[in-house]
Symmetry: C2
Subunit: 407 residues, 2 copies
């Protein structure tokens, strides 16, 4: 007997039939003798409707009221799923964030979980009752409803799994697991049976959308065994686990890409201390998130160029900010490229196996793909390339690292 947390996203509870299907999946685990807590999102589309209303009613935005409105989506789903479970003979009750309670800070709309009191649920699980828990929501220090931001239900599920000391946290989604890359652009992509937390983190922050970065970080911190699997079939998904648990280690676990990047190059900056701080301080002050940075200095002219990437949506804002500080910085010109993509190869084995970067650079060069910016971490190499090469680059690297599915 194990204690399992199951998490179902919006597409898995899109309508009453889907909710009944979820109920049957829960029943399977209960029938197998397991204790089950289920975390659910809002019916797909519901949250968008609620967000639209809260935005359209007026331009002034009170995040506490926004949370009050938006949290109703999950409240509807938990009630309906509890009824659906009872109708197939499973004892179940719904739990809202404030009822458990899931305590959070008061950063409404993007709150962080402080603590979960799992005792009431723990006792009921012991007695065979299924806990149906509203994802995405908690209660703030002032007893108002908080929400955790988009994808927050993943975080709820992991936090609940940690609080209940669950043996496993299964994230049901519309894909069968974590793939070596996006199967839509690389048909030979393979499903991974296991991936480490760190790799999953790098994949998530490099554009793979299967799990939210925050929930992976939390699972790693609390050592929660995650499984990503499909809510539409019974195939085993991908386990996200400790590095120790991975026996057979491929060189590279996956290739992630983020298509909506933009590159800015500031040309002819004076090469003196404090220049980078001036540029990136100004951007950070205006909430522009900078990802990759490279600086090239010329000793002859005492001038330097700085290139960096931002989300494409932030490009105009970033250029405006830099132009405003031109007098302070005394640079020559700014060059903005809206059409770049970030390609990342990820794998913990990189630490011990040399030559990973060489394979990447040679592969891209052989296809005529120019790299604008390169950045590396212990288990990841990312490059910025022109967007039009995205699919070609992903497929070529997938083959070069031996990831192609043989079948």
């Amino acid at each position: 007997m194990a204690r399992i947390v199951q998490k179902f996203g919006g597409t898995s509870v899109a309508d009453l039939d889907c909710i009944r299907n979820v109920a049957r999946r829960v029943k399977t685990e209960v029938d197998a003798g397991h204790e089950v807590a289920v975390v659910v999102s809002a019916m797909s589309g519901a949250t968008n409707q609620l967000v639209d209303w809260a935005s359209d009613i007026g331009s002034l935005h009170d995040a506490r009221e926004y949370d009050t409105v938006v949290a109703t989506g999950e409240q509807v789903t938990v009630g309906l799923l509890a009824i659906a479970l009872q109708n197939i003979g499973i004892d179940a009750r719904s739990w809202l964030g404030w009822q458990i309670p899931i305590r959070s800070d008061n950063v409404h709309g993007a709150a962080r979980i402080d603590s979960i009191d799992g005792w009431a649920i723990h006792d009921r699980l012991k007695n065979g009752q299924v806990a149906v828990i509203a994802g995405f929501q908690g209660i703030g220090p002032d007893s108002r409803i908080t929400t955790f931001g988009r994808g927050g239900s993943d975080t709820s599920a992991v936090a609940v799994a940690a609080a209940l000391q669950a043996d496993r946290c299964d994230i049901y989604t519309d894909v069968e697991g974590v793939f070596t890359t996006d199967p839509r652009i690389a048909p030979k992509a393979k499903k991974l049976s296991r991936i480490t937390f760190e790799e999953m983190l790098e994949m998530a922050s490099s554009g793979a959308k299967v799990l939210q970065t925050r929930s992976v970080a939390m699972a790693m911190r609390h050592n929660v065994n995650l499984q990503v699997r499909s809510s539409f079939n019974d195939i085993t998904g991908t386990l996200v686990v400790n590095e120790d648990s991975v026996v057979e280690q491929e060189t590279i676990s996956g290739i992630a890409y983020s298509p909506d990047e933009a590159k800015i190059t500031i040309i002819g900056l004076p090469d003196k201390p404090g220049i980078a701080a001036g540029v990136f301080g100004a951007l950070a002050d205006q909430q522009v998130n900078v990802d990759m940075i490279v600086q090239s200095a010329s000793s002859a002219t005492k001038k330097t160029d700085i290139s960096f990437s931002v989300g494409r949506d932030d490009l105009k804002k970033a250029v405006d900010i830099i132009n405003k500080i031109e007098t302070d910085l005394e640079f020559e010109s700014v060059d903005a490229s809206p059409n770049v993509a970030k390609i990342s190869v990820v794998g913990t084995a990189m630490r011990t196996q040399p030559g990973v970067a060489k394979t990447m650079f040679e592969t891209l060069a052989s296809k005529g793909v120019n790299m604008h910016v390169i950045s590396t971490s212990e288990i990841k190499i990312s490059v910025l390339i022109d967007s039009e090469y995205t699919e070609l680059a992903v497929r070529s690297l997938h083959t070069a690292y031996g990831l192609d599915n043989d079948s």
Copy 2:
């Protein structure tokens, strides 16, 4: 400066424009220097959708989960109205039933309010903040969400007004007030400027749908001054007040009708003690609500007939129940009329002015309307007639009691 509770129903908050309109009505009272608490229903249609989902998901019905689902309707409205108010410069915050808290018993789906802790709201009203309160919902003894049944938002508003010792509770609706009868069938119906609680109670329980019976009874008990008024214009509505406050007293305040009645006559019952108890006990055991009862005894045959009315929906069920107990009761036959209506004339002045019943009976007789059953209370006379005479009877009585609008 007064303290006012305003209640807006589903049609008044049907969409974002309606909600903005409600915000402007609240602002008018705030600008006049009043302290304002607003109680709102769900956007019209929202509750039906939620009820449908909760019913369709499975035939087993957990009223606690039903309440969890259905209460989201009001939660959405309070958040949106709070934002709308802030956008026109009014300090406001939303309050859910569990946040105030509005404590109720645990009869989910039809809970009764036990107590309201008004202190947190009282303090904020004093500081000029508008309280936007979710109607229809409370929190039960086990910290689960309860709802008060259809029309429960009226009850919420009256209970909040009592708890906050409000000077007035304004019920905004889609009619301009309480009329002497239904203007749709009697175009000469007049809006009443005042009506007593008792009259309003009799009107409500006799088919006038403008206020829920329960909310009127609560207002009478706590002496809350009610006003029924339109949310679509600024015309003064109808005040529902203590009898002492009504100076000019008409003979009759109004004529109510309830079109969906049915009549059952049990013929040839033995005239002995316990017979009525046998009939109505059996019906009550099966939750059939009996309204008017008349028994006529014949001393010659030692037999009696009993006629009574039930809601038309209950007719078949009631006849079945009676046929089942035929052997015990030893009656001769049962006669069922599905097409009868109840017409009631209501007025506190009846107590002191004789001849009210005579006027009613003469008027109906002069139009050839046969009365099947008659029942009276201190301030009401009700008769059961064939449904096809409903409009004619209502209009004739309206004229006979001098209620017709002269304009």
